[in-house]
């Protein structure tokens, strides 16, 4: 484990550290946050000792909002990414392993999905549905599997020709067994960077949709916090402690994920060169 971390580049270590920090913050929100995010104090307090990041228009403690917000934002990010990855992997594996007509159909479907303008579609659907944050994650997951499907397919096309797949087939294992125990483990390393990228784009998309006022009003995500600050005069009055922290959190979290992913891609290059 420590060897693995040691092999990371410096930027990836920073990314990993940041990522773990956010993850811990989200998991242990109750323990870390000084107050309940819905508790009301006097409004518009600038940062001070009692409230490290001040309070908003309703008197909610912004640091606590930020910490609990990380939970909402990360759930949307991870939820969408997990869904997109699972769909993409299954589609890619099936297309790559079976080839022929299955491949044609599935890749045709992928091409069609790739052409749908995703953010505008999510905006239109969200306008009609007024979705909960689960819905938002689900929608994004249903749209973002295409690039994963493509890389998994091209890797699966290579893996299926390997001799261990052939020997498994000649031993009489079922196709499902071969796909999931022989092919899948060998495509995992191309899935990881895509998974991280999906988390990052889901988080930005959630923040953007919330900014448009289409977010889940019962949940305080980072995007919703910025939206509230924008629509309730936080910008005009210069209450920087209201909108700056959530925006920085989005940026930092996305950055941490991208930094981790960049190292995986570098290693990928190395692996390819070594072959």
């Amino acid at each position: 484990m420590f060897d693995l971390i040691g092999a990371l580049s410096a930027s990836s270590k920073i990314g990993l550290a940041l990522f773990l920090l956010f993850l811990l913050m989200a998991v242990f929100a109750e323990a870390v946050a000084p107050y309940d995010p819905w508790l009301r104090f006097s409004p518009f307090m600038p940062p001070g000792f009692a409230h490290l990041l001040g309070t908003n228009d309703l008197g909610n403690d912004i640091l606590s909002e930020l910490i609990f917000g990380s939970r909402v934002s990360l759930i949307v990010g991870f939820g969408a990414a997990i869904m997109a990855t699972v769909i993409g992997t299954v589609v890619g594996l099936l297309a790559g392993y079976f080839r022929g007509l299955t491949d044609e159909l599935l890749m045709g479907l992928t091409d069609v999905f790739l052409m749908i303008p995703q953010i505008p579609l999510i905006i239109v659907l969200a306008a009609f549905l007024r979705p909960s944050f689960w819905m938002t994650a689900l929608l994004m997951g249903c749209l973002w599997w295409t690039s994963t499907a493509r890389v998994v397919r091209s890797r699966a096309l290579q893996v299926r020709e390997m001799s261990y797949v052939e020997s498994a087939a000649s031993l009489g294992f079922s196709r499902a067994h071969i796909i999931f125990t022989d092919v899948l483990p060998n495509v995992l390393h191309v899935i990881m960077p895509k998974f991280l990228l999906a988390i990052a784009s889901a988080l930005i998309a959630e923040a953007s949709i919330s900014f448009l006022g289409l977010g889940d009003l019962t949940m305080k995500s980072w995007g919703m916090m910025i939206n509230f600050a924008f629509t309730r005069g936080g910008f005009i009055n210069g209450y920087w402690w209201w909108y700056l922290p959530p925006g920085l959190c989005v940026t930092l979290f996305v950055l941490s994920v991208i930094l981790m992913g960049s190292n995986l891609e570098d290693r990928e290059e190395v692996v390819q060169v070594a072959q």
């Binding site: 091409d111 549905l129 900014f211 448009l212 909108y243 940026t251 996305v254 290059e269």
Partner: protein
């Protein structure tokens, strides 16, 4: 050519499916389809509702509605916005030129700047200054566009008073319009440049390892000559795709920037439609964006096969 036929079929299917999706959304969503088609601030009662229902064709069976819908689209009739009191198509047309004025210069500038510096960064990736530059660009790349716009607006316009706070113009002279455009164009250029930069950097790093680069070095060419005479052209290929796709999002890409800077382009049209639940405008815009994106994909495919012979002969 079977590949071209296959591609054409995929485009046709995509086009057909997405247009059909646009038909299905207002009818499948919860609530009254009439409200979903007209927008939520249409307040009609009794006989007017029956009349409107008839006028929209909602009393007819679905397959007839569907045919009628296609006929309207082929006649470029996108419906009527009761909120704006104008046909959707003319509402969109009147906004498009402002959006183009904002996004076309930004995308061109962004592509030029991003490609140039990205190529240099990929070429000299181990230098400390280059690393700092890449880190900065990466940070911009990871920021939600509206957040950076808000910061720029707050610091440069509100706090320092260097730029106007909102809109396209106040007096209408060219100088005034340019002054209003400067900051939004700057922010959008920054984002476009950051995307191009990251892609170009990665592309150059990949190309750098190829044999023809080593050969150019062996021939005795200097660093920058190898980069700009040999590697640059090949590394540019992914940028072509990105540019073509950017063209597809030329109307909707400025959405958030327009909202933050209160500019009356397509983006704000969509935002206002969202706030007032003006569904016809929302759907009409979505349709236009979709057609643009499909066209852009087609363009990317065509350009790519023209420029890269390896793709053409596959």
């Amino acid at each position: 050519m079977p590949l071209a036929a296959k591609k054409a079929a995929r485009y046709a299917v995509a086009f057909f499916l997405i247009i059909s999706l646009n038909f299905a959304i207002p009818r499948a969503m919860p609530g009254d389809p009439l409200t979903n088609l007209l927008g939520e601030d249409v307040d009609a009662a009794g006989s007017t509702i029956v009349e409107l229902r008839e006028k929209m064709g909602l009393d007819q069976p679905l397959h007839l509605q569907y045919l009628c819908y296609w006929r309207n689209i082929l006649c470029l009739d996108l419906g009527y916005s009761y909120h704006l009191h104008s046909p959707v198509s003319s509402a969109i047309l009147s906004r498009i030129r402002w959006t183009l004025l904002l996004s076309v210069p930004s995308l061109i500038l962004g592509a030029a700047i991003g490609t140039f510096f990205g190529a240099l960064a990929g070429w000299k990736r181990r230098e400390a200054v280059g690393k700092l530059e890449t880190a900065l660009v990466l940070t911009v790349f990871c920021t939600p566009p509206y957040f950076l716009s808000l910061l720029a607006l707050y610091v440069l316009s509100f706090y320092l008073g260097l730029f106007p706070l909102k809109g396209f113009y106040s007096s209408g002279s060219w100088l005034d319009i340019a002054h209003h455009f400067m900051l939004p164009v700057l922010v959008m250029t920054l984002f476009s440049a950051s995307r191009n930069y990251m892609i170009m950097r990665g592309s150059v790093i990949q190309e750098k390892a190829s044999l023809y680069a080593a050969y150019a070095r062996a021939k005795g060419l200097y660093g920058n000559q190898i980069l700009f005479r040999h590697i640059f052209k090949n590394a540019l290929l992914p940028i072509i795709t990105l540019l073509a796709l950017d063209f597809g999002f030329i109307l909707s890409g400025a959405l958030f920037i327009e909202i933050v800077f209160s500019m009356n382009g397509m983006g704000n049209l969509i935002y206002d439609a969202l706030l007032s639940r003006d569904y016809p405008v929302l759907q009409g815009s979505f349709l236009i964006i979709t057609v643009m994106v499909i066209a852009a994909n087609l363009l990317a495919d065509l350009l790519y096969s023209r420029v890269d012979p390896r793709v053409r002969w596959q």
